[in-house]
């Protein structure tokens, strides 16, 4: 066990965990930030996607010991009032069905638009292909990303 000071959603959290513990389980089990989901544990489904220094990262494969001072953003911290353009676009298109994968989808989409404010269909497909949705909401996800891109309010 070791103590780590983690910078998450603008706050510093102190946790005492085994160094091999993935960030996913630190968030869920120790900090009760459960918006980040467990789907596969081998970074194949994207349900656990968070931002590390703004980049979309699968939290199930990042040991807490490797994170250092890097800034983590989870779905809970993506926006203060749940009004990030991607979140708004998701509501506008009523994207979710079961909803379980959607936090991961939103985090991947937000990082994509951050680095590429006007993605083509191919850009969206390439980036979003790491996030699985068993309900099959891909068509709406693509439409929502385009709406968010058009909203022009991305920082």
């Amino acid at each position: 066990m070791a103590t780590y000071e983690l910078k998450i959603n603008g706050n510093t959290h102190s946790v005492d965990v085994d160094p091999s513990t993935p960030i996913l389980w630190v968030l869920r089990d120790h900090l009760q930030l459960v918006g980040t989901k467990f789907g596969c544990g081998i970074s194949q489904c994207g349900a656990c996607t968070i931002h590390v220094e703004g980049s979309a990262t699968r939290s199930c494969q990042i040991p807490v010991s490797s994170i250092g001072n890097k800034k983590i953003t989870t779905i809970e911290g993506l926006s203060k009032n749940g009004d990030h353009p991607v979140q708004q676009a998701w509501l506008e298109h009523d994207v979710p069905q079961c909803g379980y994968c959607q936090a991961g989808q939103i985090m991947t989409a937000a990082a994509l638009l951050d680095s590429n404010p006007n993605p083509t269909d191919e850009d969206i497909e390439a980036t979003m292909s790491g996030n699985i949705c068993r309900c099959g909401t891909y068509t709406r996800i693509k439409a929502a990303i385009k709406t968010a891109a058009k909203s022009g309010s991305l920082s």
Binding site: G35, I75, I106
Partner: protein
């Protein structure tokens, strides 16, 4: 208006009057869901709620709380079922708060998610609940204003008596209304007067989902809760022998390691209990990661299991499933199916004489199709929270069959039904997987053993290798055309491991003079279960591919070919018990033909069509493929759907779009295969699910407009698209696809 006797669920309307719960309603109102929510915008809660019946209560300020009775698995019933209540109550949807109802078999009927039946079977009861409350509000107003109740009108939560000029909002009458007797009959609206049903309303949980609020079973955290995981045999045909528990008991955070029997001998089991691997290892510890480490380190010895069987009580009928011993492989499965499928099966339906007709036929076509086992792969793995004490069981989590599980878990724990409290959480997918609630029972047994609250968590691997799979199927179709290219004989021989996918009375039964349906089954110890659109999820695609090839042989347009057959079924149906309405079936084909612009050729666009009827709804699809650098890409899927009245159109379209993607994905990529009884796919690195880049670029969904009571949508859009895909791929690649998954080694869709 339709006058309906309120006999249905009459006991449900025994009221508790003036239920005061002002201020107890905590948290976020859906009202802010579609706006830029700030805490200040959370609406003012009423001081007092008045319960009108089990489905709704009205606040003194006119707000309405509607209970959504059924489990939510992503089919959107938590929004659409309350919409139906709100419609008949005649309230403003903006004043409605939705809550997940508790499990209560006295108040609600069929609290189950499955068979695309929630809306269809809930329709009347939900409407009656709203209409009854509206009537009582009108009666309360009539009493106060001393006017005839028939002269009072309602609209958007306001009661009006035009002649006297009296008006009041529902909240003002709620207290008096709640004191009244439940009327013996109530008026329900004509569908033309609907103002909520048929309009698109956003998912009531939408905001919570996109902001990552705890909604799912796996998000359950309680003070003092431990985490539990199971270890089950690595292969079908194996069982637990021994383990070295001491080797992991001292690992950090580990509290205990022991075996559990999910079911004990003599306990009554329902279909919801079906599962293999009765004895498994339970590991309990402080955190998920710690338990995962112990699970990896634990040495367990397994042994071959003998012949086994599982008896269930299927609504009063005892059914026995046999699990023969042995470790099976996909190779032997395939050989067995081809061999048995080549022999005459058990004849289930016979019209005319196919053998004679085949002899007369000018052209005969015979083709075989197959599909593998599939895992459900709900994105949220199996899990359940359990806190079992000597006289109470608190169980929280995702299960599609809470009514059934309540009975079996009570029996397993030695508790009464009243001592068991199952709370339904939003589910991260169902698809049939959570009809089988063994994980709930396992969680309860582990908690009872530990005498502590625990949350059972399955890893992806635990779930994917557990079974309850979509069975593997095989079908051979044979058809004969006369010299005028008329279909004169049709034979279907369908079977599978361990069940047949046959629906003997579905199309083209009823449309062909000489028709024969046969089936066969092969026993296996691989456990199976309902998987989104059971049986249809294979047979539809096979049948629709065969009809496409048959239309080609008949030198006819594939839609015209089908419409000719439906015409026969409409004018002069053959045989009895035909399980479809030919006119509605033809209707969706005609609609998809019109909407997709079928018949117009576009350079480089390869089109496939299919139509199917299942779970009481009709769906036709046209799927367009374009090739980019030689690689097929699905450009568009156009769906035409007849599911009667559409409650929530945009959400219904979403359901259809999802079914299309899901169907394409599973036909294309997914399978579970076995070697020595061991599933060869354990996680998403080896089990392929469709991904964004492989999904259709665009989708269009069109609904047939009619006044027929609504039917389901969770399943019907999936089966036919497998056929439309195969038929479009044929046009694109010049090759027919008979065996799923269509993609073997190299990627087919770019």
């Amino acid at each position: 208006m339709t006058l309906v006797r309120t006999t249905f669920g009459r006991r449900a309307f025994i009221k508790r009057v003036g239920l005061a719960s002002g201020g107890l309603m905590i948290g976020f109102s859906w009202l802010a869901a579609c706006k830029d929510a700030t805490p200040e915008e959370v609406v003012m809660m009423p001081d007092e709620w008045f319960e009108m019946n089990g489905f709704l209560k009205i606040g003194d300020n006119g707000m309405v709380t509607i209970m959504s009775p059924n489990p939510e698995i992503g089919q959107n019933v938590k929004t659409s079922m309350p919409m139906i209540v709100a419609e008949e109550l005649d309230t403003d949807w903006d004043n409605v708060i939705v809550e997940q109802a508790p499990l209560n078999t006295e108040l609600y009927t069929r609290q189950l998610a499955g068979g695309s039946q929630s809306i269809r079977q809930g329709w009347e009861g939900l409407r009656m609940a709203g209409a009854t409350a509206r009537h009582m509000l009108k009666e309360a107003a009539a009493n106060l204003w001393q006017v005839p109740v028939a002269e009072i009108t309602t609209a958007a939560g306001i009661l009006t008596h035009q002649a006297s000029g009296n008006t009041a909002h529902y909240g003002e009458m709620a207290s008096a209304a709640a004191m009244l007797e439940v009327p013996e009959e109530v008026e329900m609206k004509d569908s033309k007067d609907f103002s909520i049903i048929g309009t698109s309303r956003k998912n009531v949980d939408g905001k919570k989902i996109v902001t990552g609020k705890p909604l799912f079973g796996l998000d359950t955290y309680k003070e003092g809760m431990l985490v539990a995981m199971i270890v089950h045999p690595p292969a079908f045909g194996m069982r637990f022998k021994s383990m070295d528990a001491d080797s992991v008991k001292n690992m950090p955070g580990i509290k205990d390691v022991f075996t559990i029997d999910t079911y004990t001998d003599g306990t009554r089991k329902s279909f919801a209990d079906i599962a293999t691997f009765n004895k498994k290892v339970a590991i309990v510890g402080e955190t998920t990661w710690q338990v995962m480490q112990a699970k990896k380190a634990l040495a367990v010895t397994w042994e071959d299991s003998p012949d086994d069987s599982f008896e269930i009580d299927m609504f009063g009928r005892i059914m026995k499933t046999e699990y023969p011993s042995g470790k099976e492989s996909s190779q032997s499965h395939a050989l067995k199916m081809a061999e048995i499928g080549s022999k005459k099966g058990n004849v289930v339906r016979k019209d005319g004489n196919v053998d004679k007709a085949f002899k007369k036929a000018a052209k005969v076509l015979e083709r075989s199709y197959s599909c593998p086992f599939l895992a459900h792969n709900t994105m949220e793995p199996m899990n359940f929270y359990a806190n079992v004490t000597s006289d109470h069981a608190e169980l929280i989590g995702p299960v599609q069959t809470p009514e059934f599980m309540e009975q079996s878990v009570a029996a397993r724990l030695g508790l009464t039904l009243e001592q068991v409290d199952i709370q339904m959480t939003r589910m991260g997918g169902g698809f049939g997987r959570r009809l089988y609630g063994h994980f709930l029972t396992e969680a309860a047994v582990i908690s009872q053993t530990m005498q502590k609250p625990i949350k059972l968590v399955y890893t992806r691997e635990d779930d994917m290798t557990f079974g309850n799979y979509r069975p593997s199927y095989y079908v051979t179709y044979k058809a004969g055309l006369d010299e005028n290219n008329q279909l004169i004989a049709f034979q279907v021989r369908a079977g599978g491991i361990p069940e047949s996918p046959l629906f003997a009375n579905r199309f083209p039964a009823g449309a062909v003079e000489n028709y024969q349906a046969e089936e066969f089954t092969i026993k296996s110890n691989v456990s199976v279960g309902a998987w989104r659109a059971p049986r249809s999820n294979f047979i539809a695609g096979a049948e629709q591919s065969f009809l496409d090839e048959l239309a080609e042989l008949a030198e006819k347009d594939p839609i015209d070919f089908r419409l000719e057959l439906f015409d026969k079924a409409i004018k002069k149906p053959v045989g009895e018990n035909n399980d479809y309405e030919a006119e509605r079936y033809a209707g969706v084909l005609k609609l998809v033909r019109e909407k997709s612009g079928w018949g117009k050729t576009r350079e480089g666009v390869h089109r496939g069509v299919a139509a199917y009827y299942c779970h009481n709804s009709y769906v036709a699809q046209v799927l367009d493929i374009v090739k980019k650098n030689g690689v097929p890409k699905i450009e568009n899927v156009c769906s035409a759907v007849d599911c009667g009245i559409v409650v929530n159109p945009d959400a219904a379209a979403n359901m259809v779009e999802g079914g299309v993607v899901d169907g394409i994905g599973h036909a294309m990529y997914s399978s579970v295969t076995f070697n020595d009884g061991e599933p060869q796919q354990r996680n998403f690195d080896s089990y392929r699910l469709i991904r964004h880049s492989e999904a259709p670029r665009k989708q269009e969904v069109h609904f047939v407009k009619n006044d027929i009571d609504p039917t389901g949508l969770g399943e019907p859009p999936l089966p036919p698209v497998m056929g439309a895909l195969a038929n479009a791929l044929y046009k694109a690649n010049g090759k027919r696809y008979y065996h799923q998954p269509f993609m073997s080694n190299k990627p087919l869709l770019g």
